[in-house]
Every structure is written in C-alpha cells, then in structure tokens.
C-alpha cells in the first residue's frame, strides 16, 4: 500500500514537472518572439522618426503658408507656440496649440485650432489664421467627416466656400450677420447641406471672439 502511494506521488510529481517544463518552454518562446519584434520595431521607429517629423513639419508649414502669407511675419512660426487650455469658444477638449506670428517683434497674427462639434457627422477641425487687427487671413478644414459630395464643400479640395472667410471680421460683418444666408446671415451655403456650413461659421465667429478676449495673453512677450 505504501509503495503504491509512493509510485503515485512520483508520477504526479513527474507530471507536474513536465507541465512546468512545457509551460516554461512555451513562455520562453513567446518572450523570444516578443523580444525580437520589439527590437525590430525600436530600430524602425528610430530610423523613420527624422523623415516623419520633417514631412509633418513641412506639411504643417505649407498649410500655414496657405492661410497666412509668409511675407506677413518674420519669426519662426512653428517654434512660437502658445498652449491653450480647453476653451468653450475654441471647442477644444484637450489643450491645443496656437502659433503666434510676429513681425519685427510686433504682433502680426495668430493661427488657432478650433473644433466645431455641431457638424452633420462628427467634429470639424478648423485651422484659423487671424491677423493682429482681428480680421481673418484664412481658414482651412483640417479634418471632417461630412458627407462626401454634400457637406464636404467646406474642404478646399471640394470647393472654394472656405475662402469666403478671407478678410472677414466682426468689424466688417456684424456679429448677428455671422449666419448662413438661409438663417438671414451673410454666408453662402449649398442646398441640402446647411448644417455643415452653419457649424463652421459659428466656430469661426467664436474663434474671432476668443481672439478678441485673449489677444493680450497670446502676444505676451514670453511668446519667444
């Protein structure tokens, strides 16, 4: 009886050992693959970082150039940034970045990011360049999910509508006229897609109001 028990224990022990051995082997194999994968990823990440950063910077600068002529400022626009905390007028829920343009140390303009939450589908992300005098230099849509062929004319790739903001200001167009024509305002829209331009007009107006309220802090000397 005793010897039988003993034998049983030995097999049990052996089985446990094989299980542990097998599990260990499997775990080591998994670890080895993960390690090699991580090494490869780290290498590629480091190798591709400079070109990615360069092309992102280039793309951003090209966009800036479209809405704020390069001749109107003389500072390093990309380097002169002001962080903006979440603000109802700009619609950002996360801190965003404003780029400040100066010419001979004097304020030239500012590029703000604004988000309209009341588009037809999803957020509309806008980039708005405002001159120091409070007029709009240009607006572009950074990202949107509006219906292709209907609401997407706010994107320069699908129409010139976004250019109707050029040179606009609250001085030129009274605040209560910052509406689409259907609502008795100043701005064009396309039949069948009024929700989209309505949201954009509202967002641009709010960005202008934000600028008027905050221009002192935006152009504070520490900007450099």
């Amino acid at each position: 009886m005793r010897s039988l028990n003993h034998a049983y224990l030995v097999t049990k022990n052996n089985m446990a050992q094989t299980i542990i051995k097998h599990a260990l082997k499997t775990a080591i194999a998994m670890l080895a693959f993960a390690f090699i994968g991580t090494l490869l990823l780290a290498y590629v990440f480091i190798a591709t970082r400079p070109p990615i950063e360069a092309s992102e910077k280039e793309a951003r600068l090209a966009l800036f150039k479209q809405i704020l002529p390069a001749s109107s400022y003389d500072n390093d626009l990309l380097a002169t940034q002001v962080s903006i905390q979440p603000n109802a007028l700009l619609g950002n829920r996360l801190p965003s970045i404003a780029n400040v343009a100066t010419i001979q140390q004097k304020p030239a303009g500012v590029i703000l990011e604004a988000i309209a939450h009341d588009g037809y589908s999803g957020d509309i992300k806008l980039l708005i360049a405002i001159r120091a005098d409070g007029s709009i230099s240009g607006v572009r849509v950074l990202a949107h999910k509006e219906t292709p062929g209907l609401g997407d004319y706010i994107d320069l790739a699908h129409g010139n509508w976004i250019k109707s903001f050029d040179d606009q200001s609250t001085a030129k167009t009274a605040v209560e006229k910052w509406l689409v024509k259907k609502d008795g305002g100043q701005f064009d829209y396309m039949v069948g897609a009024t929700i989209t331009p309505r949201a954009v007009v509202k967002a641009v107006l709010k960005a202008l109001q934000y600028y008027e309220l905050n221009k002192q802090t935006l152009f504070a000397p520490k900007a450099n």
Partner: protein, 227 residues
C-alpha cells in the same frame, strides 16, 4: 516544382481570391475603395505584409509551440504592419494621410492570419512568401478594380490622386471625364456593397461558364455518363 508555384499563383489570384471567393478582409475591401489609388495602395501594403509575414513565420515554424502559435503569428504580423506603417509615413507622407487609419487595420485583416496559419505554418519559406504575395495581390486586384469602378461611377475620374503615391509626374495617368457630375451613391458605403456584389457576380459567371463548357465536353466524350 514550378507546378507548385504556378498553382499558388492561380490560387491567390483567381481560384481562392480573398476578395471575391474567400470573402476575407471585408473591412478594407468596403471602406478604402473609394478610389482606385486608395484600393491599390492598401492592397499593395497588404500584399507586402502577407509576403513578409509568411516569409517570417515559415522558417521558424518548428520553433513555435502549437499552443501559442496564434499569439506569435499575430505578434509577427503586428510588428510587420507597424514597420510598413512607419515606412509609408516616412517616405510617402501624403499617401499616409489618406490611408493612415486603415494600415494598422491590416493586423486584424483575417486573410493575413489565415494564410500564415494555413500555409506558412506548414510549408517551406519560398512557396510561403509567394503564397502571401499572391493572396495579397489577388486582394489588391479586387480593391483596385472596385476602387476604379466606384471612382468612375461616383466621381467620373480614374486614378485620381496617383500623384500622392508617385509624385507630380503621375498626373499624366489620371483620367477625368468631361461634364460628368458623378453618381454619389457609388462613393458612399452602399456603393461598396453593390460594387463588390457585381464583382462576385462577374467572377461566378465566368466560373460557371467554364464548368458548363467542361461538362459539355465531358458529356460529348462519354455519352453514357449520367449527371
């Protein structure tokens, strides 16, 4: 030996085409094919990932314990997809803006894991790589064709945006019809389903015609045979 390669090629491009026969990888098939260039580009990226994944798994297949083969395969695929994602971002930034969110999705494309599991885990390296590439190319053809159809019907252009991939000189290959305002439905999601259905229909028609012709000749040869 060459017969195997020929069979793999035919399987990938026609017999077991992942886009219209196996119907795997529906997410990119339906979502990205709003233009021929988008479809072809994502198809090409998928083909690269599949060739690389099959080629990476096949040589180490006996070192992968059976219990963890799926996690290991996914790990390999995810690594390769990220490598390709970063490379496209670095060297074709504009294209990356268009395909950006879809490239990481190649990881979850069943066809990639399916080929690793069913082919690369059992076959030598070279045929595995060819299998991956041909399966991917089959998908690329479907994506490109579907993209071209939707683009042509929806917007009246073909290969628009090619300059994002190949540089400004590619404008010469773009074709735009004059005075066509587009049939929006083709570009919207329903257009993807309708377009894919038409492609499947087309393929099935060709296949059925072939079988019919074969049956007819078989009947003629052995008139006594019953069907």
């Amino acid at each position: 030996m060459t017969n195997i390669y020929k069979e793999i090629t035919i399987n990938g491009l026609w017999k077991q085409n992942s886009g219209v026969v196996q119907l795997l990888g529906m997410c990119p098939t339906l979502a990205v094919t709003t233009s021929a260039v988008n479809g072809l580009s994502l198809g090409f990226a998928t083909a690269l990932v599949m060739a690389a994944a099959n080629g990476a798994v096949s040589p180490v297949r006996q070192y992968v314990p059976n219990e963890i083969r799926v996690p290991v395969f996914i790990l390999v695929i995810a690594t390769l997809v990220t490598v390709i994602d970063l490379s496209i971002n670095a060297f074709a930034h504009e294209l990356h803006k268009v395909l950006g969110i879809f490239i990481p999705l190649i990881v979850v494309n069943c066809i990639v894991l399916a080929r690793v599991e069913s082919f690369a885990a059992k076959n030598p390296t070279l045929p595995s790589m060819l299998d991956g590439f041909m399966m991917g190319s089959g998908l690329m053809l479907v994506l490109g064709l579907l993209g071209a159809i939707r683009e042509l019907v929806g917007k009246g252009t073909v290969l628009s945006g090619l300059d994002l991939v190949l540089g400004p000189s590619a404008h010469a290959f773009m074709w735009t019809s004059v005075d066509y305002h587009g049939f929006l439905l083709a570009v919207l999601p329903p257009g993807a389903f309708l377009g894919l259905a038409s492609l499947i229909l087309l393929r099935n028609c060709i296949e059925m015609r072939k079988t019919k012709a074969n049956d007819a000749s078989a009947l003629a040869a052995t008139p006594a045979m019953k069907h």
